[in-house]
Symmetry: C2
Subunit: 198 residues, 2 copies
């Protein structure tokens, strides 16, 4: 178990209580994910699904979706809370038997703990899992430079949109849409919707 | 009639056909406006309402809303299409008898034709129309510097978020939330949600 996974395991219930349902989601984030989901065709992977709230939301919109997370407590909670949806313990870095399987991958704040020298592994993992033309939607923290900060659970990284766009390009993606939001008193966030190059 | 108004008058029907209903709205923009509208209390002004599609949308969500626009053809269309909602020919720069009347002002791409030396007039007009604590939601085109460009109807301006934030501050607003979106093949857009300082 990595130190990041261990940190989530240790605070899983606290995280589930605070963020485990769609009630905790900013309405604009919901619209961003829904707009992406409405364009995706084929099976969808919620990579780094945590307690599974987005997985269940997407299933409720009629998508064929499954979730993975590295933290067994999240997967256990997701299975119990959302029976009928497939959840597994797995890493976004090494998706097993998933080559070109998915039409869409949601990585919603799932790569925030990847340092700049490791982010490429996760993004290439997403690219490999997608069919050509499939779409990745990435949520992340925005900053003026790739730099670490003390996230509630464990160290995370913030990224400029331009820098993450370069990493996505190197992993085989074309960026279709970039969005940012800065709310007073909160960390700036962003999303990048990108297409796996054919 | 200003040259901007004349330009809209000349192409009013074309504009109505292309952008006159909510079908033409990006789903994320709808979520941004709805999230703002859900927090507003008191009467709302759709300033620069064009054909009135947002005015009607907000009325449909239960808001007490009226619309103003400088182009008589837009106001005529809005009145005919959305009877029961009050629309008037008026300028965002000089809102008559509106001092501290509104709980919210929507200026959705309504100040895009204001040059940097005139934007303050519009923003102060919005501030004057709002009750203390009332909220302005501003939609605009984003650029690296305040610079003009050839908009479909007539010359418009793009703004960096930081620069427009300074203009809003000078007009008596605190910015609560800034959002941007850059879609491949489209002009970058942004929104600023701000509160009239008490």
């Amino acid at each position: 178990m990595t130190s990041t996974t261990a940190a989530y395991e240790a605070r899983a219930q606290e995280y589930i209580d605070a963020l485990g349902t769609m009630d905790a989601v900013h309405p604009v984030d919901r619209a961003i994910v829904d707009a992406w989901a409405d364009e995706v065709s084929g099976p969808v992977l919620d990579a780094g699904c945590g307690p599974g709230q987005w997985t269940a939301h997407l299933a409720g919109r009629g998508l064929d979706v499954r979730g993975i997370d590295l933290a067994p407590r999240f997967v256990e909670h997701a299975r119990a809370t959302h029976p009928g949806i497939r959840f597994e313990v797995a890493s976004i870095d090494e998706l097993p038997d998933a080559d070109a399987l998915f039409g869409g991958v949601l990585a919603w704040f799932s790569t925030i703990h990847h340092s700049p020298d490791r982010i490429g592994v996760a993004l290439r993992g997403c690219a490999r899992a997608l069919r050509p033309g499939g779409e990745l939607l990435l949520g992340f923290f925005v900053g003026a430079a790739p730099e670490p900060f003390d996230h509630a659970v464990t160290r995370a990284w913030r990224w400029p949109v331009a820098e993450l766009t370069r990493e996505l390009d190197a992993a085989g993606f074309d960026v279709l849409e970039a969005q940012t939001r800065e709310t007073r008193g909160a960390r700036p966030v962003g999303s990048l919707r990108c297409e796996r190059r054919v």
